[in-house]
Structures are given as C-alpha cells and as structure tokens.
Symmetry: C2
Subunit: 226 residues, 2 copies
DNA sequence: CTCCAAACGGACGATCGCGTCCACTTGAGA
DNA sequence: TCTCAAGTGGACGCGATCGTCCGTTTGGAG
C-alpha cells in the first residue's frame, strides 16, 4: 500500500519508465534545437538511448513530444504575462512581455516553432489557458493604451503577428540574435504612441488560437550545383 | 537554314518541348503556391500533364525549377529597385521599394520562400546581379538618410531582416494580406527618422547574399487527436 | 526468491519522394 | 513521305521515415 502509493504519487510509472521519459525529453530538446521539430523520431530515440517503441509509448504523436519538450518554456510565457499584468507601468509590462517571449524564442532553439505550432491544438485544458492568455493580454493592451504609451490603434492580434515574424527570423538564422533583437526593437518603437504619426492598415483577424502552423525550420539543404 | 534558325531563336527546343516547358512552369507556380516549394516534383509533373522525366530534363534540380517558376517575379524586384533609385525623393523610393517587394511576396504565394531561398545560390550571373542589387540598395539607403527621412541607424541588412520576417508571415497565413500589410506599415514607420527616438541594438551581419534558407511552408498537418 | 505485469528494444512492413533508365513517340528537315 | 535525333512517359530501384508488433527484460510486490 505504502509502496504502491509511492508509485502512484510519482506519476504511476515504474522507476525506469520515469527515467526514460525524462531522458527522452532532454534528448528531444537537444535534437529539436539542432534539427528543428521535424527531426526524425528515431533520432530522438537514439539520442535518448531508448528504442523507438519506448518513445512512442510515452509520446504517441510528434506533437505530444514537442509539447512535452517545451512545456517549461510555455510555462515561462504564461508567467511573463502574469508579471506584465502585475507591473505598475503597463507599457513597461507590455514591453517586457514582448522582449521576454522573444528572448525565449531566441534562446531555446526549436521552441519558436513549437510555440506557434502548439497553439492550434486544443486539449480542453490548453484551450482554456490559451483563452485566458488572450484575455489577459487584451487587458494589458487596454491598460497600456489608457496610460498613453501604447498607440491607440495597436490591436491584440498584432502580438501574434510579431511572434510569427520573429519566429521565422530566429528559426532561419540560428545563432543570429542580432537580427532578432533589432526587429523587436524596431517594432516596439513603432508600437509607442508617440511614433503613431501615420494611420495603419486594419488589423488582421489573426488570433493566437486557431492559427497557423508556422514556419518550420527543417534545415533545407542546398543541392550542390553539379 | 531558315527553319533551323527559327528553332534556335526560340531556345533551340522543339515545338512540343517548348510547350511542355511552359506547361511545367505554370504548373509549378500553381503547385508551389498551394503546397509550398517543397511539394513533390511528381505533383508538378502530374499537374502539368507531363512525365517526371520531362520535368527533370527541363529542370534538373528543384532549385532550377523554383528559379524558373519565379524568374518573372525576381525580374520585377530588380525593376522595382531601379525605379526606387530613379525616384526624385529617395525616401519615397525606399518606401515604394519595400512595399512593392512585400506586395509581390503577398500576391504570388510560394514566391516568398523562393525569393529568400534563391539568394544563397550562385550562378556567376546571379551572384553578379545580386551584388549589384545590394550595392544599389545601399546607395538608396544612403540617399534616403541624407535626405533626412530615413533614420541614420538604419542598416542595409535590415532589408533582409524585413523580407525574412515578412516572408514567414505571408507563408504561414495564406490569404491574410492584413497581417502582412500591417507589419510592413509598422516597420516603415519605425524606419522614419522622426520615429528614431531610441537607439537600436547593433545590426546583424545578415546579407541578402550568403544567407538563410528560410521558412518553408510545407503545410504541416495536425495529427488528429485520437 | 519468485513471479508477472509493466516496460523495453529493435526488426519489420508500409508509405513516400527522389532521380534514372529505357523503350516508345513525334517533330521537322530532306 | 521518310528518317532519326530530340523528346517523352512511366516503371523502377533506392533510401528515408513512420508506427506497430512481438519476443525479451526488469522493477517491485508478495
């Protein structure tokens, strides 16, 4: 009884199973960072030192694996949003939020694609947390606009736009933080109210939910010109 | 003699070969637009009503096909640059250039990826025209900065940054011109000198040449949650 | 220590895209 | 019309990835 509850408490998995699961997650992060989230499952398995079957038992689909691998980063994003909302100056909060998320995308290679790709899918749990994130972000935007720092015509959907564009930059240019940082800086400046000298085209219907499987980064190889 | 020169004048191809070549190009544009530039060669062949062998004879590699399919758009880009240089107001020229190229990426789906992907490769001819494009663009930037409209810390490499980011947006959101237009508007505003209220991080080493195989858009499919 | 269900690993059949090869067709010069 | 090189099409062999199946191993309860 004591023993069995100890197992249940640790996820109902046998000790070796738990260990393997963890190994797989570590390997997945490494492989995804190196080869993109479309890397062969077998590669992840080999790197983890387990058989494919083991991998598939723990994560039946590639998406499950991706989700597992980057759960921590997602968590960080959620936390960043909470912090942004709690910040005394809403513009500061907004700016920090964008910078934090983009920095995360920059640092954890493979994550950006995962981040963008993760949204469309809907576990009821995920759907709810996503909805909450959107609502919170909208609140943040409104506050920042009310404070006069964020331009009035900024639309919450612009966040998805930024993240998508930024994701591509990071994915396409592994290791080039410079471009990423610069893009973010440009955009943040144009989001300030005092830069709003000209009207914008209408916002897109883009939402964090419901959207785009984005730029994956399968490193395409040039065919050597014969 | 008259006959043979007629053939030579039309590319040295037999009438049916020429016809097929054209069909392939049309099919390629359609297929690339629909499935991304990584679509199976066989799909293009089928759509063109041709055998694979025929396709491969005309275009030995996928890159050759991509290049052929979007040659016209590339041409348009080059022309746009020339026009921008010729414009009386360099800022106007700059702005129109960015808008034109982005519009092109928006309209001809599949082209953005082709555009970005096309640069790294170097036929001597291509290399030269690329170099020229970069030199011309740099000139344009300098003039626009001298006129006082373009912020002084804008760096020519920022163009590549914009195109890359924009490419991802267009590719990921087929049919959503809104996001694309909005991103371009935001960025153009932040490029204006009068928006340069805060310093930027240093520019990346990013060049049009020598760079990134970008976001392809192989439509990844959600695995239906069982 | 014994036992068995949980966990494991890797072989395997299936699918897919690539690019070549070769036997057949056809355009066009004579 | 005749002829043949140019052009064509599709079958084929190769290699990669997927996801499953099944015989073997092992954790841990009794």
């Amino acid at each position: 009884m004591v023993e069995s509850s100890r197992i249940a408490a640790r996820g109902g998995l046998r000790a070796d199973a738990r260990r393997n699961r963890e190994r797989v997650l570590v390997a997945a992060r490494a492989v995804f960072a190196e080869h993109g989230i479309d890397a062969p499952m077998a590669t992840v398995a080999r790197r983890a030192g387990v058989g494919v079957a083991t991998l598939y038992r723990h994560f039946p689909t590639r998406d499950a694996l991706v989700q597992g691998a980057f759960a921590q980063q997602m968590e960080t994003c959620v936390r960043a949003l909470a912090e942004a909302l709690a910040a005394p100056d809403p513009w500061q909060g907004f700016q920090r939020l964008v910078e934090t998320v983009c920095a995360l995308q920059r640092e954890e290679r493979g994550f950006p694609a995962a981040f963008v790709a993760a949204f469309p899918e809907s576990t009821s749990e995920h759907a709810r947390s996503r909805q909450r994130a959107e609502r919170d972000f909208t609140t943040l935007v409104r506050r920042a606009q009310a404070s006069g720092a964020l331009r009035a015509d900024f639309h919450p959907s612009d966040l998805a736009m930024v993240l998508l564009a930024h994701c591509a930059l990071v994915t396409a240019l592994p290791g080039d933080g410079a471009a990423s940082r610069r893009l973010v800086a440009y955009l943040l400046q144009s989001f300030r109210a005092d830069a709003a000298n000209e009207p914008l085209p209408p916002p897109s219907a883009l939402t964090l939910r419901s959207l785009p499987i984005a730029a994956d980064d399968s490193r395409r190889q040039r065919v050597p010109r014969a």
